[in-house]
């Protein structure tokens, strides 16, 4: 059974002679609960691929099925609902909203859901506890460190308990210690059943995933299962 099915995905930017194929006929299946690292050089097309998987960047051709939903057959607003219900995003530059407190940033995905204020706040506190930042709930993003910002971004991504977490270079702006913490956090979430798809340059980070896909010039060059991921988690 596959939870995510990428079927001959192609993404072309530009037209005619200026056309550039950022994603060239990529197909794969992802089972529920997998932890996947997508690796590749800059410009290889991995972020474009993540955008397609994130229901934000329609492919030029091909299909993306998530939980049997043909994502790009959904209308714009339905796709927004799909992102809210199925996906959590962690961005490289944190992308926290600077004028909202830590807990308010975490509550953002819940803003447009039909939940009570109390429930939203409880869910945000729970997510912050999971990333170890419950005590900094009232701070503004400008008042916490880079590592903490990334953890807030993770808390925001998991607050509504999405089945899939998409992360674009989540440790790109972090030092080794904070990178390790984020990776261990991802492993814990993955152990809880969350499917994680992470784009990274770092072989160290990719080593925490159970499956690694290598992309080059928009093509999927390699797709392998990493045996030692469990050992890293234990460490």
């Amino acid at each position: 059974m596959s939870y995510i099915l990428a079927d001959h995905l192609i993404k072309t930017f530009g037209a005619a002679d200026a056309a550039v194929q950022a994603v060239s006929d990529i197909s794969f299946r992802i089972a529920p609960g997998e932890f996947i690292a997508i690796m590749g050089e800059s410009g290889a097309g991995k972020s474009t691929l993540l955008g397609i998987l994130g229901a934000m960047n329609a492919p030029s051709s091909g299909r993306l099925l998530v939980d049997d939903i043909d994502v790009y057959h959904l209308r714009q607003e339905q796709r927004a609902d799909f992102r809210r219900e199925y996906l959590g995003f962690v961005f490289q530059s944190f992308h926290l909203v600077p004028y909202l407190s830590v807990i308010e940033n975490v509550m953002l995905p819940l803003t447009v859901t039909r939940r009570s204020k109390t429930e939203k706040r409880a869910m945000a506190r729970e997510a912050l506890s999971q990333v170890g930042l419950a005590e900094k709930a009232g701070r503004l993003p400008g008042e916490i460190s880079g590592g903490e910002k990334e953890r807030v971004a993770v808390a925001r991504a998991i607050v509504n308990e999405p089945p899939v977490l998409l992360a674009d270079e989540p440790t790109g702006n972090l030092d080794t210690k904070n990178s390790g913490e984020i990776m261990r956090m991802f492993q814990r979430l993955n152990a809880g059943g969350m499917t994680i798809i992470m784009v990274t340059h770092s072989a160290e980070c990719a080593g925490h995933a159970r499956r690694v896909m290598k992309v080059s010039d928009g093509r999927l060059l390699e797709d392998r299962v990493v045996a030692e991921a469990g050992l890293r988690m234990a460490s």
Binding site: G51, R83, Y99, L108, T111
Partner: protein, 385 residues
Amino acid sequence: MTLRLISLRNLMRRKGKAAFILAGLVIGVATVVGIISFVEATTHDIAHKLEQYGANILIVPRTENLSLSYGGLSLGGVSFELEEIRESELARISTIKNHRNIAAVGPIVLGVASVESGRILMAGVDFKAAGILKPWWRVRGAYPDGNGILLGAEAARILNLNTGSRLVVNGLDLTVSGILEPTGSQDDHLAFAILATAQQAFQKNGRISMAEVAALCKDCPIDDMVRQISEVLPGAKVMAIQQVVKSRMEMLAQFTHFSYGISGAILFVGGLVVLVTMMGSVRERTDEIGIFRAIGFRRGHIMQIVFLEAGIISGLAGIFGYVLGVGCAQAALSLLAEGPTVHVPFNPGLALGSLALALALGLAASAYPAAMAARLDPNEALRAL
């Protein structure tokens, strides 16, 4: 966490931009409110002054003879030698539908009287009514009693008479009780006695030459009143003195049209300020909007955030604009008004209207930026960073 909170927090963070939009809207709304308040207060003041202005309806005998002007106003045909109205008939005026709008009725008997040095035009009037009908009269001395006479300034000069002098008019020995300050009207050339004295002098007991009526015309249809008086006095010709009223009201109407034009231009500029600033704000917030869209905000939610911000600022602009507009109108009236200061009354309709105007302008000007924000592609928005 609500969309409203996001809007509020963003406004608090971008105080400068919010203040700029607020200022643009406040100026627009204040201009409109100021002009409307000024025009309303001025109109009210003019109406009030017109009530004090004196006679605005004339009742003269119906005749085809001799055109005569009186008081510098074209009054139509008046033949005081041939036709008269019975004084008692004037009582019928109090029966007309709009009788409550009548401030005073002043009967006048006119006649040419002989004095030692020649002839003068003498008017018999009701001095109590004259106080309302001719509020500009200033008398050196006193109003006359049954044996007295009041002289116009020119008449006193030509006849070389002062207060206390004696004057024999058509055989009646009268004392000059007072002299009118120059009025610049025909009154300066007349002599005035109480009605009964003049009627006795002209042997016109119970009859009058004409009557002046002061109507409180702010809310009353003067033409209707003319028609109503004509109906109860079929033998008389009833006319409204509308020239002054019309000219002043026309001036006011021209000023109003001009002011509304200026207001429209200022509102347009205010709208542009909102539009440009909101567009700039949306562009600055591309990353935020990208995040909102990525985590599942619909386009409608993004538009709601922008409209909420515009709505909050516009609401404040409506309140501040009303207060500033009324304040400016009051200041302008204090500077420009002749005589006692005219006060701008609180007008709930205008207050609500200014709020509605500010909201309509702010939301309309924010529609395009809101649509622009909602159209942002989340992938493009985040990639652009």
